[in-house]
Subunit: 138 residues, 4 copies
Amino acid sequence: MSAFTTSIQVRFGHVDPAGIAYYPRIFDYVHEVYEELWERHVGVRYYKLLLEERIGFPLVHSEVDFRSPLRFGDRPEARVTCVHLGRSSIGLRYHFALEGRECVDARMTTVCTDLRTMTSTPLPERFRARFEAIREAP
Amino acid sequence: MSAFTTSIQVRFGHVDPAGIAYYPRIFDYVHEVYEELWERHVGVRYYKLLLEERIGFPLVHSEVDFRSPLRFGDRPEARVTCVHLGRSSIGLRYHFALEGRECVDARMTTVCTDLRTMTSTPLPERFRARFEAIREAP
Amino acid sequence: MSAFTTSIQVRFGHVDPAGIAYYPRIFDYVHEVYEELWERHVGVRYYKLLLEERIGFPLVHSEVDFRSPLRFGDRPEARVTCVHLGRSSIGLRYHFALEGRECVDARMTTVCTDLRTMTSTPLPERFRARFEAIREAP
Amino acid sequence: MSAFTTSIQVRFGHVDPAGIAYYPRIFDYVHEVYEELWERHVGVRYYKLLLEERIGFPLVHSEVDFRSPLRFGDRPEARVTCVHLGRSSIGLRYHFALEGRECVDARMTTVCTDLRTMTSTPLPERFRARFEAIREAP
């Protein structure tokens, strides 16, 4: 099994008075990594999906463990695997780690949606293989 | 059983190109409602906890169902109940609804933490009763 | 001369590690006050302008003095006056103050824009009088 | 004269329902570029300044022209020059451009501040030369 990896930077405007990342900012990181995954791993710029193909991936469920705080100046590694691949739904798992120590473990389920009708639609086949490529062994 | 209720406003800067609330903003709403809960229900301003009592409540776990999108201009009702009350840990449940239709169901677990040592500390007794007051029946 | 007044709340997620409001958040406050102005003073909900009337007010110029920091827990008073009222352009001035001490003085110029063509369009007459009502004496 | 250049990415969560960058997000970009400038041009990570040297650079004045909208998926080039270099104050100018077309021209004045006393302090000499290196001709 393979995974998609990238890195994140905890900036000044992301941390709270205790110097640790305010948790809603961690969801911004998750979305940022998701956009990188589409562009660099799947091979399509995320905005093209929305503006040209008129499909989107609204989040329907998230479950997150915050194991260790991220601090101002940290540059955690982000690692994404696919934990579920249905007809329309995609479950992705994001690990953010600092020097091998896990900080965040986020499981996010999105559903491929036709933005014209706002109903679910099958994940196009040409994308499916790219998610298979980062699938976690069962 | 009782609950704490307040309302949220989905503003211009919170919505994405599809006109629906970008999900990291929904976590901003959850924190905003949490600050309101401390001030109006528990009876202490949240910043006093941090700056004067030197305790904080880092999030350790979240599990959220996004059932229906929030759109620009919506003013969902937020309803908070307590689903777990341990020695240090507090589990709160946030329902955001529009005219009775549930949009978001978020369960958030935080741990009362001594900010000087960054270790867990018992929830002060004078706060406990206020969380009991919004406890869900088992 | 009159002014539109409201208040702002400096929340946990808005402040930086030094405990003062991160300046991009201050521009969020300005937009929040602007939305309140439309709703409570002009008498139209801002999202109706965009979604139904298909006009918007992109910012073309801003000039801001940051005189005194806003801190976590502060609740500054916001006061808005109109400093320029052209055919399409509106210049608004936002003062944020804590107990009479000025913290922020922001002058923001927006242009009434037809969102279908993205070109300037005259400010509708029924709105003009409401901006005249908060106009600063020359 | 030289300038510091980097690039920005207009992400999904930064744009409003009209598909253009919500202006407070543009100030996030300015701060992001500023952090890059410190790290890659001046040669010190911004968080080290704050946490170790205990100096900061609060913004005292900003003046910004928004000439052309930034849209979802855009990757403007950012170019920074120094327009003022006083004992403690630094005036920086940020140009954001798309294929040579200027979108944003922001002049931001910050003051070197001792975070222990919150009073202005001279810009350390070892940093001064790096700002001279990107100084605009008068």
